[in-house]
């Protein structure tokens, strides 16, 4: 009976305050979408780190026909230069820093390139000798990149030494920045959501002060009096959270794993199922925020 009664009260409260309730739904929707987007970016960063960090290496690129670097003044790297570099890599001084290394010839580089950009027209405009051969070095400790770089970049026949990890770090820091920005927007939006929930509950309590006054007088418990209001806020926020989750899922499903994954074949995107991990967090966050702000509002504006 009491449950039915409370449900009825919630229903009438939601109906009576429909426009406010809709705005609470929308604001929590937007704010939690930003929270979720920030979370997704972090997940994406972790995923890429996990995927790339074992694979990325320091690459010592050898001079080819088109090289313009100082060390390449004498033209493409010769067989001797290459042998010399290999000897250096095998010398104890360098060996202590690396796990292993591989030589990637121009032909292999071309094969990899074709694989990577298989569905891009760029493949047709690049020929084998435009791509440099390279030593791919797998570091014991990627932080020691500097040592390798200093040792090899001044060697004859070396065009450049590149730390692929650094390139990735740049991407990650960019993604991290985006995630922080999303979180910043989320915080502002959550603040708006809390204010809006507070106002909505206050209005709702005001518009039903007659009922609550009578409930108080006839001895209804605090729970029976307050619960409909609190649940009103919580339900609106949960609907917003569900909308946010659905939006994020759609984004992951149709954008990350649709468009983007065909454009960036080598990038490991988070799957839409992984995004579902975020959904309960968003729902709990929405419900928690709404519950707490409703409770605090009622404590001030609804005498019991």
């Amino acid at each position: 009976m009491r449950l039915l009664f409370i449900l009825g009260e919630i229903g009438s409260g939601l109906r009576r305050n429909l426009s406010m309730v809709i705005s609470v739904v929308l604001v929590t929707f937007v704010s939690l979408t930003f929270v979720g987007a920030a979370g997704m970016l972090q997940m994406q960063i972790n995923q890429m780190k996990g995927y790339w960090y074992d694979k990325v290496q320091v690459a010592v690129f050898l001079c080819n026909d088109g090289s313009t670097a100082v060390g390449c003044a004498s033209g493409p790297a010769t067989k001797e230069q290459q042998a010399n570099l290999q000897a250096m890599l095998e010398s104890p001084a360098v060996k202590q820093y690396i796990n292993d290394f591989q030589f990637e010839s121009q032909a292999e580089a071309y094969t990899h390139f074709k694989e990577q950009f298989s569905n891009s027209p760029i493949v047709d405009s690049v020929s084998e000798d435009q791509l440099p051969a390279s030593f791919r070095i797998n570091m014991k400790n990627p932080e020691k990149y500097q040592i390798i770089s200093e040792t090899f970049s001044s060697q004859p026949g070396v065009e450049t030494v590149s730390d692929q990890r650094q390139v990735l770090e740049r991407i990650f820091s960019w993604m991290n920045g985006a995630s922080v920005a999303a979180m910043g927007v989320a915080v502002v939006m959550i603040f708006c959501a809390v204010l809006l929930i507070t106002t909505t509950i206050r209005l709702s309590a005001f518009s039903r002060r007659r009922e609550t006054g009578i409930m108080r007088l006839v001895g209804a418990s605090k729970t029976v009096i307050q619960l409909p209001f609190i649940l009103e806020g919580v339900i609106a926020a949960v609907v917003g959270a569900v909308l946010a989750s659905v939006t994020l899922w759609l984004m992951a499903h149709f954008w990350l794993n649709g468009d983007l994954s065909t454009q960036f074949l080598n990038t490991p995107f988070i799957s839409s199922t992984q995004v579902l991990v975020i959904a309960p967090v968003l729902i709990a966050l929405g419900a928690g925020l709404a519950g707490i702000s409703s409770l605090l509002t009622l404590r001030r504006y609804l005498k019991v």
Partner: protein, 254 residues
């Protein structure tokens, strides 16, 4: 049933107390009028019984229990034992008569079958048989007050507090309401009614407690609105006027 021991209530630090060391006992089953000019502290007296307000000093006992010792989560239980009606009825305009009365039972978790059984009985007691489906705006003032009384007593409280229940009603309708309150009192409910309607008090001949500036100045059984001991020169108009006006008028007499 209700006992005040030296109860003082001060709302604002510098103002005179709304109640000033009031000591009073109201027994089970009694019908008591609380009379006095507006601002004399009648509503405050009733609010203290309900624990709507806290006494500044002294103790209020309801059914043997000091209300100051009732924890906030048990206050609803206290209030279930007390029915209240007001001058302005306080009905829910979008609920019909039946639903208004049923509301008081729903919110304390009474089952649907008990509600269906009890509400018509109570509506019969207050003389509203057959008007279950009417909306409040389709009722006269007297009928609306009867709905409010039905709602106040539907959970069978031991005490009924009425704060100027006839304040908005004409004399004949008021007498009808008094009949209902009397009937409820006959059934064993302790009734405390604040009023400044002298005709009603004179008609009923019940206990009268008179407040003036927060002090009990008279407590008489089977009494009239005004004391039997006449106050020289006090006119009917002044009795109905506010306390201050009364004071000013009395000052002018001197």
């Amino acid at each position: 049933m209700i006992r005040f021991e030296n109860v003082t209530k001060v709302y604002e630090q510098n103002a005179r107390p709304a109640l000033d060391s009031v000591s009073l006992e109201i027994n089970r089953g009694e019908f008591t009028f609380l009379v006095g000019a507006s601002g004399s502290g009648k509503s405050t007296f009733l609010r203290l019984i309900l624990k709507e307000d806290k006494a500044s000093s002294g103790s209020v006992y309801v059914a043997g229990q000091n209300v100051a010792n009732i924890s906030s989560w048990r206050v609803p239980k206290l209030r279930r034992g007390i029915g209240v009606v007001f001058q302005d009825f306080r009905l829910l305009p979008q609920k019909n008569v039946f639903a208004n009365v049923a509301f008081a039972m729903q919110v304390i978790g009474k089952s649907r079958s008990i509600i269906r059984e009890t509400v018509p009985e109570v509506l019969k007691t207050v003389g509203l048989e057959g008007k279950e489906r009417r909306m409040p705006h389709e009722l006269s003032g007297g009928e609306q007050q009867r709905v409010a009384i039905a709602r106040a007593v539907v959970n069978r409280p031991g005490i009924l507090l009425a704060d100027e229940p006839t304040g908005n009603l004409d004399p004949i309708t008021s007498m009808g309401i008094m009949g209902v309150l009397d009937k409820i009192n006959q059934n064993g409910t302790t009734v405390v009614m604040a009023t400044h309607d002298d005709d009603i008090v004179n008609e009923m001949r019940r206990r009268v407690v008179e407040l003036k500036n927060g002090k009990v100045i008279r407590d008489e059984a089977k009494a009239l609105y005004t004391s039997m001991i006449p106050v020289v020169g006090e006119s009917r108009r002044l009795r109905d006027a506010s306390g201050e006006e009364l004071n000013r008028a009395q000052g002018a007499q001197l």
